[in-house]
C-alpha cells in the first residue's frame, strides 16, 4: 500500500510542475494534427488509446517495471535501442536526463542519464515507492501531458481534454497491472501510424513542439 508520503512524492515527480520539460514533446501529435488525422476530441482519444495500449504507453510501463525490478543499467540500454525515430530518442533521453538530475539533487543518489521510464523506475525503487502506483502515475503523466498539448494544437476544449483523460483511467490501470509482472519478451509496439507521424514531424515546416 502506498503511504501518504509515497503519494505525495509520486504526485510531485509526475505532476505538470516537475521540470522535465514534458510540455515540449507532443509524441507526434502535432504531426497527426497537421496531417488532418487528429481533428477533434474523438480522433484524439482514439489516437491516445492506441499510443497507450499498443505504443509507448505500454512499452514504457514495461521498461519502468523492468528497471524497478531488475538491473536498470541493462534496461536503459534496451530502452535507448527501442526508440522508433530520432525524435522519440530525443523525447525519452532529454526528459530522462532532466528527471534524473532533479531527483538526484532533491532526493539524493547519483544522477543517471537514462531514458525517462528507466530513470523513473530506478528512482521509485530506491525511494521504496510501490511499483503499481508508480506505473499509474507515470502513465497518467504521459497521457495528461498529451491531453494538455491536444487542447492547444488540435485544438480541443480544455474540458474535452479532461474528459478524455478521465475516460482512459481504466486503460491506465490495466496497463499498469500487466506491467507489474511483464518480461522483456512482452515488450512490443504496433503504433506504426504514430511512428510515421513522428518521422513526418522531423521535416514538418511549422513546428511548436520538439517532437
Amino acid at each position: 500500500m502506498a503511504t501518504p508520503t509515497d503519494l505525495l512524492t509520486l504526485s510531485q515527480w509526475f505532476g505538470a510542475n516537475f521540470p522535465t520539460g514534458a510540455f515540449a514533446y507532443s509524441h507526434g501529435l502535432e504531426a497527426m494534427a497537421e496531417s488532418g488525422a487528429v481533428t477533434d476530441a474523438t480522433t484524439f482519444a482514439a489516437w491516445l488509446r492506441d499510443v497507450l495500449e499498443r505504443g509507448a504507453g505500454r512499452q514504457d510501463a514495461i521498461l519502468l517495471s523492468l528497471a524497478y525490478r531488475g538491473e536498470a543499467g541493462q534496461v536503459a540500454e534496451l530502452a535507448l535501442a527501442l526508440s522508433a525515430t530520432a525524435e522519440r530518442h530525443l523525447e525519452t533521453t532529454a526528459q530522462g536526463r532532466a528527471f534524473g538530475a532533479v531527483v538526484a539533487d532533491v532526493w539524493g543518489g547519483a544522477a543517471t542519464a537514462w531514458p525517462l521510464p528507466v530513470v523513473a523506475g530506478a528512482a521509485a525503487q530506491r525511494e521504496g515507492l510501490p511499483l503499481f502506483e508508480t506505473l499509474t502515475f507515470a502513465l497518467q503523466s504521459f497521457a495528461g501531458n498529451l491531453c494538455t498539448i491536444a487542447a492547444r494544437c488540435v485544438p480541443i476544449g480544455q474540458t474535452e481534454a479532461q474528459s478524455v483523460l478521465r475516460s482512459i483511467a481504466p486503460i491506465i490501470e490495466a496497463i499498469a497491472r500487466d506491467a507489474l509482472t511483464a518480461t522483456e519478451d512482452d515488450i512490443g509496439s504496433a503504433a506504426m501510424a504514430s511512428d510515421l507521424a513522428a518521422i513526418a514531424h522531423e521535416t514538418q515546416r511549422t513546428r511548436i513542439y520538439r517532437t
Binding site: 488525422a37 488509446r49 492506441d50 535501442a81 525515430t85 530520432a86 512490443g188 506504426m192 501510424a193
Partner: protein, 265 residues
C-alpha cells in the same frame, strides 16, 4: 489416444541454413543446410553473392522451427533473399519460430532482404533477428509484412505476430525493434496503429555512413529518420503491390544496384 495420434501428425518442419563468406572476393567459407530450408547460390554475374533461401515446406505454420545464420568477414559482402514471399498459414497449435542471426565483421556487408512475409488468418509466428557487427561493417535489413492480401480476399480475424530485432555494434546494443500484433486484428486498425493499412515494411541501415545518407533517403521520397549511427525507413500501404513498387524503387536507388533476381521474377 486420439490426442496422442493428433500430436504426432502435427510434428512440424524444421530448417536450418548457415552461410558464411570471407574476403573481398567473397569466398564461400561455410555452407550448411538441413531440413526444409535450402540455400541456393545462383550465378548472378555480380560481384556480390546472392544467397537465395528456399523453404521446401512451402510455408510456415505453428510449431515450425527455422534458423538462419549469415556471416560475412574481412571485406566480404552477402545479399540474402528468399525465393518467394513466405506464407504463414493458420496455426492449429503452437507458434512458428524464425530465428535469424547476421554477422558482419572486418569491413564486411550483409544485406538481409527476404521478400514479403504474408500472414494468413489465425497464423502465429515469433521472429527474431539478431545482428553482430563491428564499427566498420554495414548491415541492411529489409522486412516487409503483409497482413492478408486485399487482392486475394484474405482478411485477418486473429493473428499472433511477434518480431524482435536486436542489433549490436562492437557488443553494444544500438538498435531494437519490437513489434507485437496479437489477438483480434481489428484492434490494430486505429489511427495510431495500422490505420487500415494491410502492409508495413521496416528498413534498417547500419554503417559508418548511415547518418550521412539521411538526406539521400528522404530525397527518394520515403519516411526516413536517422540517429545514433543508424538510418530507419518505415513504410505502410493499403495495397501490397504499392508497397512492393515503393520498396523496389527505394532499394534500387539506395543500394545502387538491381535487386536480387528473385525479387523481380
Amino acid at each position: 489416444m486420439l490426442d496422442a495420434t493428433h500430436q504426432v501428425k502435427l510434428q512440424r518442419a524444421k530448417g536450418r541454413v548457415v552461410a558464411g563468406f570471407c574476403g573481398p572476393d567473397n569466398r564461400l567459407r561455410d555452407l550448411h543446410q538441413s531440413g526444409s530450408l535450402k540455400a541456393l547460390l545462383p550465378r548472378n554475374h555480380a560481384p556480390v553473392p546472392d544467397v537465395v533461401l528456399v523453404n521446401t515446406a512451402g510455408g510456415l505454420t505453428g510449431g515450425d522451427d527455422y534458423r538462419i545464420d549469415i556471416h560475412a568477414h574481412d571485406g566480404a559482402s552477402a545479399t540474402v533473399a528468399t525465393q518467394t514471399a513466405e506464407r504463414v498459414y493458420k496455426a492449429s497449435q503452437g507458434v512458428a519460430r524464425m530465428d535469424v542471426h547476421l554477422k558482419a565483421k572486418g569491413g564486411a556487408t550483409v544485406h538481409w532482404m527476404p521478400q514479403e512475409t504474408i500472414l494468413f488468418d489465425q497464423s502465429a509466428i515469433a521472429r527474431t533477428i539478431t545482428a553482430d557487427l563491428d564499427a566498420d561493417s554495414r548491415l541492411l535489413i529489409v522486412e516487409p509484412v503483409i497482413f492478408g492480401r486485399k487482392a486475394m480476399g484474405e482478411t485477418l480475424q486473429t493473428v499472433s505476430f511477434s518480431d524482435q530485432w536486436r542489433i549490436r555494434v562492437d557488443g553494444r546494443l544500438i538498435h531494437a525493434e519490437a513489434t507485437r500484433i496479437t489477438g483480434d486484428f481489428i484492434q490494430y486498425q486505429g489511427i495510431g496503429c495500422l490505420n487500415g493499412a494491410r502492409t508495413t515494411a521496416t528498413i534498417l541501415y547500419v554503417g559508418p555512413d548511415a547518418m550521412d545518407r539521411l538526406d539521400e533517403a528522404r530525397a527518394l521520397d520515403v519516411p526516413a529518420t536517422a540517429w545514433g549511427g543508424k538510418l530507419v525507413v518505415r513504410l505502410m500501404h493499403d495495397d501490397a503491390r504499392a508497397m512492393r513498387r515503393q520498396l523496389t524503387e527505394f532499394l534500387r536507388n539506395f543500394r545502387g544496384c538491381d535487386l536480387p533476381r528473385v525479387w523481380t521474377m
